[in-house]
């Protein structure tokens, strides 16, 4: 992650900070399906990086408008979980009309997603103010609310809280693991959906972990800001 250095008028003893765009996405209802189980609608406890990346690409007008180097850090918290019945409409390959089927689908309520971008801040600020495509998180019928603000990130560890952390990143306290669950989530999906990059991530759905994470950056509230792997589909190898 390249950084825009802070202005020179700060104290010479203060650690260097970088400017970042903090994007806050809120939605009363979010549903992010686990793509591994097509026959059942199991929900993930947080949006995978590929979903967040897709939302950013929607704001920009498609992946063609997004830099190959795009990376971001993210945190997510939902106030509750639930299960609903949705009508599933099978798309029959033979062209026959298939009967709609009710299926259970998990959802998250009172969701807040925080995304930190440190590159092309001005550009992302404009894109998110006037997105090209509607912004959603997993359910086509629910739009999200997006706000942005510029913040300073300082180098050094931060509190885990509700951060999504790449597998391998460790708390400052030696011998411990980040709180919560280890998940395998899609990082990038090719536009034709034939290839997916999967990575391991730690996520604590409670958001209560005070563990100090050996992060590259932390925000003004001491939250860990950890850049995730690159998300641009064009970076996926043609064949693994």
């Amino acid at each position: 992650m390249t950084a825009t250095e802070s202005p020179d008028d700060v104290s010479p003893n203060a650690p260097p900070t970088i400017q970042a765009l903090e994007v806050t996405v809120t939605a009363p209802l979010v549903s992010v399906r686990n793509p591994l189980y097509a026959g059942v609608q199991v929900a993930l406890p947080c949006p995978p990086p590929s979903t967040v990346a897709g939302m950013l690409a929607a704001a920009a007008g498609g992946w063609g408008a997004v830099s190959l180097e795009t990376r971001f850090a993210m945190a997510f918290h939902a106030r509750g979980v639930g299960v609903d019945l949705e009508t599933y409409h099978p798309l029959d390959a033979s062209g026959k009309k298939a009967d709609p089927t009710p299926r259970e689908r998990g959802f998250l309520t009172g969701a807040t997603l925080t995304v930190w971008l440190t590159d092309e801040i001005g550009s992302w600020e404009r894109r998110l103010r006037r997105p090209v495509w509607p912004l959603r998180l997993g359910r086509s019928q629910d739009l999200v609310r997006v706000t942005t603000r510029r913040v300073s990130l300082r180098p050094g560890p931060g509190r885990q809280g509700s951060a999504l952390l790449p597998e391998g990143i460790a708390p400052v306290l030696a011998g411990t693991l980040p709180a919560g669950t280890l998940l395998r989530l899609p990082t990038a999906i090719s536009p034709d959906r034939q290839r997916t990059r999967w990575d391991g991530y730690h996520f604590d759905a409670s958001g209560r972990s005070d563990l100090l994470i050996g992060a590259e950056w932390s925000d003004e509230q001491g939250r860990a800001v950890v850049p995730l792997p690159p998300v641009h589909p064009a970076r996926l190898p043609a064949v693994v």
Binding site: A38, G39, A93, A179, T181, L182, D192, V239, V240
Partner: protein, 475 residues
């Protein structure tokens, strides 16, 4: 397509799909390897041969209600309407069934492979597959979830065989199957290999496990406590069915700290003693403690701590401190520290307050005073008032040997400040601490022996808990 060597094309690769991973370990074990990466090509072929032979044998039974029809019946929850269990098999002769099942389990010729990469590992796919071959996949006649032009999931031969081997890594019930999954590879190797041994027996015999469908969470708990190495990841319990009547999947997750704490509770001598009490704390007249504990472990850690507190305080109204109180209290505090990651300073403060209260109660040596204190647990106002009042009494009473005030300002804040989110839990911990210290100090009110005898008669360990505690190595 990737050009992989012949050997690499026959080696299962661990992917992000939990069911594929369970199958990969099962396949490895069937081939005599400890992990998928150690499975050599010839052993891979041998393992696939075992899968095919078992499938043929089950298909020839034809009737799921036959004495040896268990594997045929169970297969419908994995590969419904496949060549193995197709309704038309009833009218086919043996040779025809053998041929069709073997054909189903044979790698397609390279000329028939589609121009697609395996969706799980990226190697060359040998075909497109749906729910007949891959549990919980979409039916191959639907196009909702597959890429444009794909007639189902694109899978390579090893990944497909992992799904064929999946049942061997599961607890088979004939209905929904139970699989344990973790990102801890050593745990996977160990638990899946044990499960494969048992499943092979039942598949070969064609009969069901005589132990029936043991409580699903208990299976996970037993596997955790049998594991020798430190767990590096949590554990997922997957209960699923691919049956034609409806695919179902239920996932329950246990985080690494709790999984490791449960494992250690079988390893450290002091915790083993406390574990017996932990089972008692979760027992109900109609349910063994092991079932209650296992369920709480997957639902919420706080429920385990709550059960401990309730058990320790259950007979305080009669002035009785149980003989297993100290062991259980210590186990409870280890849970609070290692799993719930409660602030150590706060725990020290609460334990200090518990020590002071216990010293005051010991000096009083009255079952009535203990009952009085216990009754305040349900009402924070009463407990606050009780502590404030005794705080003053302790200062004025020369018989009481407490050092300093009964409760300090910081302790009071932890227990009663509305701003403290976990204050209710802190109050439970206070009582746990008081009981622990009373036990250590030999608190013995006059009527103790009589009441303890009554309790012993009332409460017997559940037979299933006794078996679990004494026979944990059985898988």
């Amino acid at each position: 397509m990737s050009h992989v060597g012949h050997d690499e094309g026959k080696r299962p690769v661990l992917t992000a799909h939990p069911l594929q991973r369970v199958g990969a370990y099962a396949l490895a074990f069937l081939g005599g390897a400890h992990t998928p990466e150690h499975l050599v090509p010839s052993a891979f072929d041998d393992a696939v041969g075992v899968l095919t032979d078992d499938a043929v044998r089950a298909a020839l039974v034809r009737d799921t209600k036959h004495d040896q029809g268990f594997w045929l019946k169970a297969s419908m929850s994995f590969f419904p309407n496949s060549k193995m269990n197709h309704p038309s098999n009833a009218k086919k002769d043996k040779e025809e069934i053998r041929t069709t099942v073997r054909s189903w389990r044979t790698c397609p010729e390279p000329g028939a492979w589609p121009e697609a990469a395996c969706v799980l590992c990226g190697r060359a796919a040998v075909g497109f597959y749906g729910k007949k071959d891959v549990p919980l996949a979409e039916s191959d006649v639907y196009r909702n979830t597959t890429p444009r032009g794909h007639q189902g999931l694109a899978l390579c031969w090893p990944c497909l065989c992992c799904f064929y081997a999946l049942p061997y890594g599961c607890r088979l019930t004939g209905g929904p199957s139970i699989a344990l999954h973790s990102w801890d590879e050593r745990f996977m190797a160990r638990t899946v290999s044990r499960r494969v041994e048992r499943s092979r027996q039942f598949i070969a015999l064609g009969t069901a496990d005589p132990r029936g469908g043991s409580d699903r969470e208990t299976i996970a708990l037993r596997a955790l406590r049998d594991h020798d190495d430190r767990l590096t990841a949590g554990v997922e319990l997957l209960v699923f069915s691919n049956n034609n009547r409806g695919q179902t999947l239920e996932i329950q997750s246990m985080d690494q700290p709790l999984a490791e704490w449960l494992r250690l509770s079988a390893r450290l001598p002091a915790r083993r003693r406390g574990f017996r009490a932990l089972l008692r704390a979760h027992a109900r007249p109609d349910r063994p403690g092991i079932v209650g504990l296992a369920r709480n472990a997957f639902r919420s850690t706080e429920l385990i701590a709550g059960a401990c507190a309730r058990y320790l305080t259950r007979h305080l109204d009669r002035g009785v401190i149980r003989s297993d109180s100290a062991d259980l209290a210590e186990l409870c505090f280890s849970l609070v520290i290692e799993v719930m990651r409660m602030n150590l300073n706060e725990i020290d403060e609460i334990r200090a307050a518990g020590g002071q209260v216990a010293a005051w109660l010991t000096a009083e040596n009255s079952a009535g005073k203990l009952r009085e204190f216990n009754a305040t647990l349900k009402e924070p106002k009463r407990m606050r008032h009780w502590l404030m009042r005794r705080n003053l009494d302790a200062l004025l009473d020369s018989r009481i040997s407490t050092e300093g005030p009964l409760i300090t300002e910081e302790q009071f804040r932890l227990l009663f400040d509305p701003e403290v989110e976990q204050a209710w839990f802190h109050r439970q911990l206070l009582v746990v601490s008081v009981v622990q210290r009373l036990h250590e100090q030999g608190f013995r009110p006059a009527d103790r022996a009589e009441i303890a005898a009554e309790l012993a008669a009332e409460e017997q360990d559940q037979p299933e808990d006794l078996v679990f505690a004494s026979d944990e190595k059985e898988s």
